[in-house]
Symmetry: C2
Subunit: 209 residues, 2 copies
DNA sequence: TTAAAAAAGTTGCAAATGCAACAATAAAGT
DNA sequence: ACTTTATTGTTGCATTTGCAACTTTTTTAA
């Protein structure tokens, strides 16, 4: 993933953030961000620490929507944080820079070269997001557990240029990503093994044939 | 959705497209685009006509991934068109402008104000896409047909600021969007009616209570 | 190094879903 | 106006899936 400040010097970054009226906030570990920010249209850049976007459904089940690392970008609007089931929780003491999206999009003849770089970096990040989301939708719209698993495995195989690869999720997380029941997934993985479509042990997968 | 040439004059647009080495291609009705373009990282802008991004699975079932109207933007990479199951088919005689993504992202001190406007418009379009996709993922990750339907209905209701609204899909398309079997969906809609959670007739839905 | 917690792996069973195959309407085309 | 095509609505049935309730293994932390 592109760094949003790629090709921008520390000095330029400072100026840029000032021009965009960015606000930097500190959060303790295990804190909800949404209680401290108005949920208008902001983008957040995680500068220190780590966090998770989560969804809590009506019976209290928590699903991790995404993991945020240093450099991760999220949007209060486009990441659905205005949806009452959604929240961001810090996993460590964290430091986040917020920028109003409208400020970013304000056209201004005087805007500098580093602003343009920033725009380009942001565009790169957004198109990566679209790609990653399309990939997920492509999987989620498969009807059966088997098809979901295989589509995911094929994608991973392509990414690593190899029929054998290691899952970047643990199996519990994989079930969440595929939005299927973990035990049903385990059952289906076993069947894929029995049908000699894959070999697998733990998080090592080999696609056969 | 933002027009990608918003705030850009016809003259400026011409210059911009030249600078970005854009290519304009004509396609007859019911033609596959992918046979005429290399599948590298391009963005396409539909200037005339209409088209659909489709996915054809291994048993020949075709799913409409998205409908493209005049002004619609798609990416050969981020729209998964490098995936062999995907294609774009024109629905009418169409005219599409292609721009190499790398050209868009090339940083150049001399770049003009209209280029900046273009970047901002594109950024707007991309963040809309991310939002729309997150909305869909939010629905697709629900486990049951009932939850998918209700989540979709709540979203629509919010959009229209009303408990009563008309579906913008027909029911067959809705089932595709939710990635569930149409007859199973009909059954569940009937149950939602019986349980007095919604009122519905045809594509008119009212959320009760 | 041992205790505790998390993840992996299993299974029975009830419930939900997809599929197939229709009939009934509605919409579109000639 | 009439034919054709698309959409809606319905049902029985087999299969898949989720859920609950476990055991076993692995990882983490005290």
């Amino acid at each position: 993933m592109t760094n949003i400040f790629k090709n921008i010097s520390v000095k330029e970054k400072k100026k840029l953030l000032k021009e965009l009226e960015a606000i930097r906030l500190d959060f303790d570990k295990n804190t909800s961000l949404l209680k401290r920010i108005s949920s208008s249209n902001l983008i957040g850049i995680l500068e220190k620490g780590s966090a998770q976007i989560i969804r809590t459904d009506y019976n209290g089940n928590v699903i991790i929507i995404s993991d945020l690392q240093v450099g991760s970008v999220f949007g209060t609007k486009f990441s659905l944080l205005d949806n009452s089931e959604y929240d961001i929780i810090t996993k460590e003491d964290s430091n986040i820079v917020f920028i109003d999206y409208d400020y970013i999009l304000r056209i201004d003849q005087k805007r500098s070269i580093y602003y343009q770089k920033f725009l380009i970096n942001l565009l790169n990040i957004m198109s990566d997001m679209v790609y990653v989301q399309n990939e997920r939708i492509n999987i989620l719209t498969r009807k059966t557990t088997r098809e979901k698993l295989l589509e995911y495995f094929y994608n991973e195989s392509k990414k690593y240029f190899s029929k054998t690869f290691y899952l970047s999720f643990n199996l519990t997380e994989l079930a969440e990503y595929l939005s299927i029941d973990r035990s049903a997934m385990m059952r289906e993985i076993k069947r894929l093994r029995e049908d000699k479509i894959i070999k697998s042990s733990g998080n090592k997968i080999t696609i056969l044939n």
